[in-house]
């Protein structure tokens, strides 16, 4: 039986199985570091995802650390207020939480930014009696059309079709020759 197996599939080419087998796609939040600044006794670092930021859902994460010890301030309450460019539209307010972040040292919130342009994100951080504010300007690009943003997904069938046709065509011509 094993001889049939090995004759059926040349052993080295079984590597193909290993090559295509495993997924190595991983996700981690945080994203691009927009600003890291000392505000009072805190070191505040702000991250955004995706890169570049586009109209739509933007993940904003913040790390609040004690400047002296570098330890994260776990009980800090963080609120984002996103002001639209040129005062068009209303400000968007969201409360950050650890639950919304993959990295549990961070607090995160999703904001839906409906316009392109230069937005200003105002962070209000409160822990006990201490309070601090930080302004983070970000540039939001226009949204890609949904179909364009999702092109890797709906174009997936093209690759197996092309490979299949090429493979069948080459094996066919080899058989004929």
């Amino acid at each position: 039986m094993h001889r049939r197996l090995t004759m059926m599939i040349p052993p080295r080419t079984l590597l193909l199985l290993a090559v295509v087998a495993l997924p190595l796609v991983a996700r981690a939040d945080g994203g691009r570091l927009q600003m890291s600044k000392q505000v009072g006794s805190w070191q505040v670092s702000v991250f955004t995802t995706p890169t570049p930021i586009r109209v739509g859902i933007v993940d904003i994460s913040v790390l609040v650390q004690d400047t002296a010890t570098l330890s994260p301030v776990a009980d800090a309450s963080v609120t984002f207020k996103a002001s639209p460019p040129d005062g068009h539209g209303h400000a968007i307010v969201a409360r950050a939480s650890h639950a919304a972040a993959t990295n549990q040292l961070l607090q995160a919130a999703n904001l839906h930014l409906p316009h392109a342009g230069a937005w200003n994100i105002k962070l209000t951080i409160q822990s006990g009696q201490q309070r601090a504010e930080l302004q983070v300007p970000i540039k939001v690009a226009s949204a890609l059309p949904s179909w364009q943003a999702m092109w890797p997904w709906w174009s997936l069938p093209v690759w197996p079709i092309v490979l299949f046709v090429l493979y069948k065509a080459t094996s066919n011509s080899r058989t004929r020759s």
Binding site: L16, A18, V19, G30, A74, S146
Partner: protein, 762 residues
């Protein structure tokens, strides 16, 4: 301070990514390996033992740790953490995986058809064989591994990987797969051909160690931060960026060196003892089975035992009967606000969504648990009908008409927004099921009438499970034919599906009577290749050949086009047209306008498309076969794209409205709700706003279009016999499939009416 450090440590430990797609893929690979390992263990227990399996699963576990654990989360903050991640991917994971002897288990774990029709021909191609023979030779393997390692550590590329997730994923893929390649000549996993001269492995490992040392030294002794991103990142440890970099060099150096040194010592020992692991004698197989056994639901612990129990179906049907009764009651007597009525949410959100997911996972699970079977059973016990169903009506044409009527009624009567109509239809189902089976024998309601059942049975042709015999040879010696005749008090198949000649799920209600009746336990719910029955036109018990049944083909085509028509009826652009038409002709005439629209969408348009495609195929194939026969054959190739659209659409409503049952239940139990009428059904939502959901829906369509195109090709191959001609005759059908795919993708991007769901914040 201590408490703070503990809190930080705990937060770090909780920072897992847990991407369902990654976990799902790893579990799938583990399942394929396990299936193949169980088969190989029986044949070669010495080589494929528990230790090998443990190594392989540990290897998968290491991959999971590397890319899903806090290692990945904090890799952006600390280079040393990132380095640990890379060491796991390049050294530990590949080593463990090769030690798991994965090649044959992974191969044998795949379905036979995949191996026979896809892998074997592909892997036998001289180009493919030559390519892999080339890259697994020590020289190219070493070069690729070392080259990629140095390339990805160049500052420009490394920085890019930190900024772009997709580039980061590519980096990890390169490290892992080059790691597998690098360790291949060292481990020579069975059944690879041995190296002509195994002594080459010694300089192979030594030189790899030298280059690893050189690269590590750069990181360890550099006086400036190589990757500026780490200098900019907020510090989360006591280490400065430079110290972190030096530490990362040490991580690369010490574990990396050990990873080269230990195999070097082992191989040296083996060479000196002149023993070659790969020349060990092959143990004789214990069993003679040629293939791993197909998955059988009846062998799943607990669940399989339940299914084997004679009254299993009752256990499933009674709760559904109770739910149906509650739905009917609330629909008739409750408030006529769909989101606040069980009849408005249960059938249109949960039932539809769950049945399509059930079809995707197993098969015709709804018919297995169908509550309408209970009045049927009662009617048969009470009245014992003997009259056969009229010969002229023993086709699916009546079912086709009922399906068209149902989809028209859905829109014309706004069933989704009318609990009363919904309840009435459910009640009518019970009445008709009782009446038909009280008058006629042999389950004609299920086989020829029930629209829901026809939907289920047709879509289940693409399901991964089917009721069939384990061993056809056993049936040849069976004289009693209990599966169709029944025995003792166990009935045989009411739909006259004789198990040895049953093929596919059409007309199978998953009633399990054949399973319970078979005295040899030779019938099970077994795994199958999804869609295989679409291109196999064999003689089927109770059905005959597909090409001789244009009625079944018509049912398939109507359900395919209905998938798109039904979804289109709920999207903003189409609804805008509808409102405009309604404004022109008045709401009293809308049912007629809708009748015309559905007649066009479900009858005329499919008829035209199928006729045109069959005509073109007939011409291209230069075939004498009747047009109707060609159409009846190729119509099945459209089924997967239709099924995909049903799954995408209904699962969208299920996932976006998963909490819709709460207000309806509260209302039913008598709690008040401040919802005003008329607001509920006007909500629109696009799947584009729920990232993962839109990806899921598009993936469904991707799978559907691929399976449909493949089915068209295989049908063409049966008619023409060679690749080129098969592709040619399948082109007209491929055009329809691709057009439906494009339409489906367009539909998914449109805002869709959230029927049965409340607007929040009212």
């Amino acid at each position: 301070m201590g408490a703070s450090a503990n809190a930080t440590f705990n937060a770090v430990l909780r920072s897992w990514s847990l991407d369902p797609a990654v976990i799902g893929m790893l579990l799938l690979i583990a399942a394929i390996y396990l299936r193949g390992w169980l088969f190989m263990r029986d044949r070669m227990p010495a080589r494929f033992n528990g230790v090998a399996a443990a190594f392989f699963f540990c290897g998968l576990g290491v991959v999971f740790l590397a890319i899903e654990s806090p290692l990945d989360t904090f890799a952006y903050f600390l280079l040393s953490v990132h380095m640990v991640q890379h060491v796991l991917l390049m050294f530990l994971a590949p080593l463990l995986i090769w030690m798991g002897q994965p090649l044959l288990p992974l191969l044998m774990g795949l379905p036979l058809e995949v191996r026979r029709y896809w892998l074997r021909p592909l892997l036998r191609q001289p180009v493919v064989r030559g390519f892999f023979r080339g890259i697994t030779h020590p020289v190219p393997a070493w070069t690729i591994f070392v080259g990629l390692t140095w390339l990805w550590h160049l500052p420009a590329l490394y920085e890019w990987s930190l900024e772009s997730q997709s580039v980061h994923d590519l980096e990890h893929a390169c490290f892992f797969y080059s790691g597998l390649l690098f360790w291949w000549p060292v481990f020579q996993p069975y059944p690879s051909a041995p190296l002509r001269n195994r002594w080459i492995v010694l300089p192979y490992l030594v030189l790899a160690g030298v280059q690893g040392t050189a690269l590590s030294a750069i990181f360890t002794f550099s006086t400036s931060v190589i990757y500026p991103s780490y200098a900019r990142m907020p510090r989360i440890s006591e280490l400065t960026p430079l110290e972190d970099q030096a530490f990362s060099g040490a991580i690369m150096w010490i574990p990396g060196s050990l990873a080269y040194l230990i195999p070097l010592l082992v191989v040296s020992y083996e060479l000196m003892m002149e023993s070659a692991p790969h020349s060990a004698p092959v143990p004789q197989p214990r069993r003679t089975s040629r293939e791993p056994e197909a998955l059988n639901l009846l062998q799943v612990p607990l669940f399989g035992r339940l299914l084997r129990w004679r009254h299993a179906r009752l256990v499933l049907q009674v709760p559904l009967l109770v739910i149906a009764a509650l739905v009917i009651f609330d629909g008739l007597a409750g408030p006529q606000i769909a989101p606040l009525n069980l009849a408005g949410v249960v059938p249109w959100i949960y039932w539809r969504g769950l049945i399509v997911l059930g079809l995707l996972v197993a098969g015709n699970l709804f018919c297995m648990a169908c509550p309408f079977m209970l009045p049927r059973k009662f009617a048969k016990l009470l009245l014992r009908p003997r009259r056969p169903w009229p010969q002229r009506l023993r086709t699916k044409w009546l079912a086709v008409a009922l399906v068209v009527l149902f989809f028209w009624a859905y829109e014309a009567l706004s069933l989704w927004d009318s609990p009363w109509w919904t309840a009435l239809i459910a009640l009518a189902y019970f009445v008709f099921a009782f009446a038909i089976d009280a008058l006629f024998r042999d389950a004609p309601f299920c086989k020829y009438l029930c629209p829901a059942g026809q939907f289920q049975m047709v879509q289940s042709l693409t399901s991964p499970m089917e009721v069939r015999v384990h061993d056809p040879r056993r049936c040849r010696t069976c004289r009693t034919k209990d599966c169709i005749r029944g025995r003792e008090s166990i009935p045989g198949c009411e739909l006259h599906l004789f198990q040895p000649r049953k093929a596919g799920n059409l007309d199978c209600t998953f009633c399990l009577d054949c399973i319970h009746a078979c005295p040899y336990d030779n019938v099970g719910i077994l795994g199958t290749i999804p869609g295989r029955e679409l291109w196999l036109d064999r003689q089927r018990s109770g059905v005959g050949r597909f090409r001789k049944h244009p009625d079944i083909a018509a049912l398939v085509v109507v359900l395919v086009f209905a998938a798109f028509a039904n979804a289109m009826g709920m999207i903003a652009p189409v609804m805008a047209v509808r409102y405009r038409v309604e404004g022109l002709i008045g709401s009293d005439w809308m049912p007629f306008a809708l009748a015309g629209a559905f007649l066009f969408a479900l009858v005329l348009l499919p008829l035209f498309c199928v006729w045109l495609a069959a005509r073109l195929t007939q011409s291209l194939a230069e075939s004498d076969s009747p047009l109707l026969e060609i159409a009846s054959r190729f119509a099945y190739s459209l089924l997967p794209i239709g099924a995909a659209m049903w799954i995408a659409h209904y699962s969208f409503h299920l996932f976006t409205s998963a909490d819709a049952l709460i207000p309806a239940t509260w209302q039913f139990l008598g709690a008040t709700h401040s919802m005003s009428s008329g607001m509920a059904s006007s909500m629109m939502m696009s799947a584009a706003s729920g990232g993962w959901l839109l990806r899921w829906e598009i993936l469904c369509l991707d799978a559907g279009v691929l399976l449909s195109l493949y089915a068209a090709y295989r049908i063409g191959l049966q008619i023409q016999g060679n690749f080129g001609r098969a592709m040619l005759v399948a082109i007209p059908w491929a055009v329809i499939v691709v057009a439906l795919f494009v339409l489906g993708v367009w539909i998914l991007f449109q805002p869709m009416q959230m029927r049965g769901m409340m607007a929040h914040g009212g």
